[in-house]
Subunit: 206 residues, 2 copies
């Protein structure tokens, strides 16, 4: 069967499959059935078979999925089996959290630079990286070609940063501000993570 | 027309409507058309009319939506027009970021307590709140009745915290760990925010 192109909603679920399969692997398991996966993930077995069929399907009736093959295949689809370079702008508490708390390498990225506009932090280290001044970003990018930038800056800084982001030739932006950064016309993918939106939906459900 | 119950996907979009409408209000606007909203939010005008019809609809053909009424109605649906008490467990960098960076009150919550198990941070302040020892949580909850808990603890701490969370009678949990906390059987809503999953989907799109 020819694999179909996964839909955005399948792509959104893939990191969760990846993580769940890893936890089974860590427990020493080789194979897993769609119903076991379904139970752990709170999905139906048929939903899982449908999702995994999108990229070829590795299950054998009554025998389940080979966990290692599935992890490899999901990593390949998500492209996290190889890393690209990333930089972070904004070395405040949020920048500190993101750079220290997240395992960029596990997510297909290598964090290679951290930038800020405040001389009080430039020169100090964060996640073992020496913080550079934002004025050095363009030259840094020309030399190292990072493809992704994490923005942990105040929302007000977004407008000023926009032309610089375009000039630096990033392919993706992970934006933590409250702004509405849109770089579709420049062909740059923007992922907004607005923690306040999550908090508002929690209020709805309780 | 009788309003329908909004679907989970509409609920997920409501905070964005709320935020976008606020930005128009701040610019001094009273009314907005579905096509203007659509352009700003990158949705179709028909999608927007469909979403807003879910809760009664405030638009008049050729005249648009009254921004204030729409903000009020969305706040009411999300229940962020009133606040409930929330506590946070885990006073590390992530806890610091969440408690200082987010405006809980705007999201329908009042952060009333921060707890940690390390004596080195207990007694110091974070977001103007004195950090208490985790052993004081249960008594604190009996006295103040917070309905929501934010977990910014290491994933390994989750197993130990689970019975305490149930005992404290929370109705909702905002979980930042990498675990798979499930409290469906206890009727507790759990929202997981896994930043690493977001990062993995960025890698896919660039």
């Amino acid at each position: 069967m020819k694999p179909k192109t996964p839909s955005p909603s399948v792509i959104k679920r893939l990191p969760r499959y990846h993580r769940t399969l890893y936890s089974f692997k860590k427990k020493g398991l080789d194979r897993i059935s769609s119903s076991e996966l379904a139970q752990t993930m709170g999905l139906t077995a048929s939903q899982i078979r449908q999702d995994l069929n999108c990229f070829g399907g590795f299950g054998q009736q009554g025998y389940g999925y080979n966990i290692d093959s599935l992890i490899d295949e999901i990593s390949r689809i998500l492209k996290i089996d190889t890393t690209q370079k990333a930089v972070l702008i904004g070395a405040g508490y949020l920048g500190h959290t993101i750079s220290n708390y997240l395992d960029f390498n596990q997510c297909g990225f290598e964090l290679v630079g951290i930038f800020d506009n405040s001389n009080s932090v430039v020169g100090s280290t964060m996640a073992d990286i020496t913080i550079k001044h934002i004025d050095e970003l363009l030259d840094f990018c020309k030399e190292h070609n990072p493809t992704m930038v994490v923005l942990t800056v105040p929302t007000a800084a977004l407008k000023q940063l926009k032309p610089l982001i375009i000039e630096c030739n990033f392919k993706g932006v992970w934006d933590f501000t409250l702004g509405d950064l849109n770089l579709d016309n420049e062909g740059i993918f923007v992922k907004n993570t607005r923690l306040s939106d999550s908090l508002k939906t929690i209020r709805y459900y309780i």
